[in-house]
Amino acid sequence: MGDRNKSQALYTIIFEDKTTYYGGSIFDTKWLDIPKKKINRIFYRLPSGDFLCLGNYDKYFHYIEAVQDLTGRERGKTKIEYAYLMGKRGRVVTSYRITLINKPFDKYRLGDVTVREFDINDEKIQKLNKKGWK
């Protein structure tokens, strides 16, 4: 990947062996292509251009959430609302939700990061696609 693409990558992963991996974009995250190696750090690009940095977790999960209206004036548009980056340590999963849209009447604004913790057995965690854990 060229330097320009590296600088625009959605995320950068540094593995324990000190090699790096560059994520793609919101539309093509390349998350499922991450090599099977122990992750040391993830630097995730926020809408502001700053980074959210996660480290010291056993496993990581990432996904993009979108909506598509079937009725109403915005029907048919795919609107990307959130990115989720999660870290699992022991029995606790910490979820970082990054808001990617400004919606009227929503207290969360573009770039806001909302942190929640879940028990590993929480249904929301158990129902995640297991291929996504890295």
Binding site: I26, F27, D28, T29, W31, L32, F61, H62, Y63, I64, E65, A66, V67, Q68, D69, L70, T71, G72, R73, E74, R75, G76, T78, Y84, K103, P104, F105, D106, K127, L128, N129, K131, G132
Partner: protein, 218 residues
């Protein structure tokens, strides 16, 4: 890669899944001023095979509140490309393959069907959604990806009364995995939707609401 969603409705035989021999579905063209869905009591002007109805024709064909709960009997697709109304077959009945949600890739979570006042997805306060009225949502939905919904599923309340954060999972609780799906084919989830107006509901009206599908990719 981003996952793409295509919504289809069955206009012929709701016992036949999309892609099977004899299936007849319409892919919804949801771009502005194209296809749209109408829930209606129906009339000579608002029925399968008729032209796009006027607002007056739609109002005349609206479902009237009764002393007993009444289910809106018809869902019509206005098919822009054909310039005609087409009946969505099996809507609200004990039929499995009515509304089809086709995904072309794996998801991180189970896709969900939601209902909101408008495209802001912030409130569910309208009468039809039961918000602030003391009633549940009139919009009943049930996942039929694996099973038929059952007899009188709307009246018996075995569906989910979707509104706001009360949503319907479209894949029996599971994210979509493409295992066993050939390249270029889609994973198809199904749901049925029925609208039940409570008995002697005290506020007659004609309301719009927004249904939306929430889905994810990794």
């Amino acid at each position: 890669m981003a996952v793409n969603l295509v919504v289809r409705v069955n206009i012929d035989d709701p016992s036949i899944a999309y892609g099977e021999t004899g299936a007849d579905y319409v892919d919804l063209d949801l771009s502005p001023n194209r296809d749209y869905l109408i829930w209606t009591g129906g009339s000579d002007d608002v029925k399968d095979g008729e032209n796009e109805p006027t607002e007056t024709e739609l109002n005349i064909a609206s479902t009237i509140i009764q002393a007993t709960a009444v289910q809106v009997p018809h869902c019509l697709l206005y098919d822009y490309s054909a310039g005609l109304l087409k009946e969505v077959e099996g809507m609200g009945d004990n039929e499995r393959y009515v509304f089809c949600f086709s995904f072309d890739g794996e998801t991180a979570t189970e896709p969900t069907l939601e209902a909101w006042d408008d495209s802001n997805h912030a409130t569910a306060d309208k009468h039809v959604l039961g918000g602030e009225t003391g009633y549940d949502s009139f919009v009943n939905a049930i996942c039929t990806t694996s099973l038929s919904p059952g007899t009188d599923w709307v009246g018996s309340g075995s569906g989910t009364k979707i509104a706001g954060n009360v949503t319907l999972g479209l894949n029996d609780g599971d994210p979509i995995t493409m295992t066993g799906i050939a390249t270029g084919e889609t994973y198809d989830c199904y749901a049925n939707i029925g609208i039940l107006i409570p008995a002697s509901y005290d506020t007659p009206g004609a309301e719009t609401f927004v249904t939306t599908v929430r889905f994810t990719w990794m």
